[in-house]
């Protein structure tokens, strides 16, 4: 009852005309920057941070939070329509969302994404409200070894994303790890693989690599064909998902919401990890894993729900512990500090209007995003009717401006073009670039966690076995790695028994 009364107070704050306007504005800006590749949530929040100086703390945090979760919503649009991830968490959506669009189901993919995001976002806000303190306490038990184990499991899942060959998927993941090592070493800060280029000491900006591999790489692959791709010639069948598609999307939405919420709570977890863990989970659970990467509804519903749930739940460690889990949340943390509000355990009691006002604004923001996005589906789908040769130059210009706008640097544009050429080459060689991109994000975190674990345990590898959470996660990773071997042994046994004329085992 007390929670309801506190939430009521939060709604009283969030529903004032000023805060309502900032909630709408944040959601709108977030959707737009999610759609625009290059201008990611951290860059936009950083740009708008000075604008919030004149606002009340609650209004400021409502605006910035709206941008953050709005971007998660909007990020799927270009992933589905053009295979250009608007932000990191939408990379996974490219795999099946784009294939659905190619099959004339862009409207369905966008609708599942929008409604899935709404459901997941709302579930996550309820979770944030009810479970924030106990979950934050559990997250506190995650030390470097647990993170290291979690990231190892994550990387194996990333390799699994490759779809076809696990060897190729893992090779892409290791290449991504190596790309993530370019720049300053995360512990001692010495430069690595910079080839004497000063700009490389900052490492490769993730968004540039993603835009190059996916955006430019896709255009180059299409240019290589004399006949433009059939994607844009396919008839668009209905603007909303069918009953059968909703039936298939339901369980992944539920699982994605829960998974996204739990992963988002872990500092460093966030939307990106949750989206690919959800994808790997759905593929594992599916009766038709071969449909993944070819337009499986589950491959859109699960990751989209997960990334939106994680975006919301990543506020848990910020609001209850004062620990920002990712770059965007770190900027919101900075905004709160600038306004004299210290996020942490005392926030709920000392500044309830900020805590509950923000939570109430998230309910409103989710509704605003749904109202904003569903009518826009018709407009986004119209984009597919533009002939590809006409669309391709605009995609390239869009990506190049996006690349430039990250740091206002021509070097970044060159990096994007170089990764575009690499993306084309990878396609030619039948390698899926998604594991590379995701491993690039996880790599630095994994290396830092591994080295911290070893320093902490004085080189004793038992630290990963003696700690129950780390050991469980590593056992899961080992099972995952050995699964193809078990499958191969089982198939061999079945063949041998069939050859011997005896019935195969169940």
């Amino acid at each position: 009852m007390e929670i309801l009364s506190l939430l009521g107070g939060g709604f009283a704050v969030a529903l004032t005309p000023t805060n309502l306007m900032y909630c709408f504005l944040g959601s709108l800006i977030g959707t737009a920057i999610g759609v625009l590749p290059g201008l990611g949530p951290p860059a936009t929040i950083a740009l708008l941070l000075p604008v919030t100086y004149g606002l009340a703390p609650t209004s400021a945090v409502i605006l910035l939070a709206g941008i953050f979760y709005g971007a998660m919503y909007g990020g799927s649009t270009t992933s589905i329509l053009l295979k250009i991830p608007g932000e990191a968490a939408s990379v996974v959506t490219c795999l099946d969302g784009y294939q659905m669009a190619r099959q004339g189901r862009a409207g369905a993919a966008l609708a599942i994404s929008a409604i899935g995001s709404f459901v997941a976002g709302t579930v996550s806000v309820v979770g944030l409200m009810l479970l924030a303190p106990p979950l934050a306490t559990f997250a506190l038990r995650f030390g470097a070894p647990e993170y290291c184990a979690l990231l190892v499991l994550g990387l194996l899942m990333v390799g699994y994303l490759g779809g076809g060959s696990m060897t190729k998927g893992l090779m892409m993941a290791v290449l991504g790890l190596l790309l993530g090592m370019v720049g300053l070493d995360p512990i001692v800060g010495s430069p690595r693989f910079t080839l004497g280029v000063f700009k490389l000491s900052e490492g490769f900006e993730f968004v540039l690599v993603a835009m190059g591999l996916f955006g430019i790489g896709e255009v180059l692959a299409n240019v290589a064909h004399a006949v433009p791709p059939a994607v844009l010639k396919t008839r668009i069948q209905g603007l909303l998902a069918s009953r059968e598609e909703w039936r298939r999307a339901g369980p992944p939405l539920a699982r994605g919401s829960l998974l996204g919420f739990l992963i988002g709570v872990l500092p460093g977890g966030g939307a990106v990890i949750s989206s690919f863990v959800s994808y790997a989970l759905e593929k594992r659970l599916s009766r038709h894993p071969e449909q993944f990467g070819k337009g499986a509804v589950e491959g859109v519903a699960g990751p989209e729900a997960a990334n939106n749930a994680a975006a919301t739940s990543s506020f848990v460690p910020l609001l209850t512990l004062g620990i920002p889990g990712n770059a965007s949340i770190a900027l919101i943390f900075a905004a709160l500090l600038i306004h004299g509000v210290r996020p942490g355990p005392l926030l709920v009691t000392e500044r309830p209007e900020v805590f509950w006002g923000l939570i109430a604004s998230m309910y409103i923001g989710n509704l605003v995003l749904l109202v904003l996005n569903l009518p826009l589906i018709r407009l986004w789908v119209k984009l597919l009717e533009v002939p590809y040769p006409l669309l391709a130059p605009f995609i390239v210009v869009f990506v190049l401006v996006g690349a430039y706008s990250v740091n206002n640097s021509v070097f970044d544009v060159g990096t994007t073009v170089a990764f575009g050429a690499l993306g084309y080459l990878l396609r030619k060689l039948d390698f899926e670039p998604a594991p590379l991109v995701l491993a690039m994000i996880l790599g630095p975190q994994l290396e830092a966690a591994l080295r911290r674990s070893l320093i902490y345990s004085r080189g004793d590898l038992m630290v990963f076995i003696e700690r129950p959470i780390a050991a469980s996660l590593l056992a899961l990773a080992a099972l995952m790695l050995l699964a193809p071997l078990f499958r191969w042994l089982l198939q061999r046994r079945v063949r041998e028994m069939a050859a011997a004329g005896s019935p195969p085992p169940d």
Binding site: A392, P393, Y404, V413, I455, R458, G459
Partner: protein
């Protein structure tokens, strides 16, 4: 397919060797105190192992698939078109600051429209001008991205 996989595996093996050589210049440290070269060396070894595995898989598949199917007909000449566009993009990167965003974008869009579709020049020119001016207005003027203006400065 198997032939291309073998080539890719050989390429990845070379990358792994190069990374390992570069990583040897960095302090490896020890298990107690891993240095900056610790993770890169392990990653290079893992990549080399996976490359060898793929190479073996590809070589074992080679006798059954031969040299693989001939390239699809629509792919013929595609390599040249891709090389042309990559060169155009490289020119774009080099010329962006001295020549400016509007002119570079105009030329790039014109290049992309002309050789691939053989359309009349006028629609291509109109499209290129619209793309350059429209995107400049959207990003530079409205969103205030400081795109290099070139001769349009001031």
């Amino acid at each position: 397919m198997a032939r291309r996989e073998a080539i890719a595996a050989a390429g990845a093996l070379l990358v792994a060797a190069w990374v390992f050589r570069e990583a040897t210049a960095l302090p490896f440290g020890s298990l107690r105190q891993p240095g900056p070269g610790f993770a890169p060396r392990w990653a290079a070894v893992t990549l080399a192992g996976l490359s060898v595995l793929l190479l073996v898989q590809a070589l074992r598949a080679l006798p059954s698939t031969g040299s693989g199917p001939p390239p699809a007909p629509e792919a013929r000449g595609g390599g040249l078109r891709v090389a042309g566009l990559v060169l155009a993009l490289a020119f774009y990167v080099v010329a962006l600051v001295p020549v400016g965003y509007p002119i570079c974008t105009f030329l790039l869009v014109l290049f992309m429209r002309r050789p691939t579709t053989r359309r009349a020049l006028l629609p291509a020119l109109v499209l290129a001008a619209a793309a350059a001016a429209g995107s400049y207005l959207l990003f530079a003027v409205w969103l205030r991205v400081p795109l290099p203006p070139g001769p349009f400065a001031g």
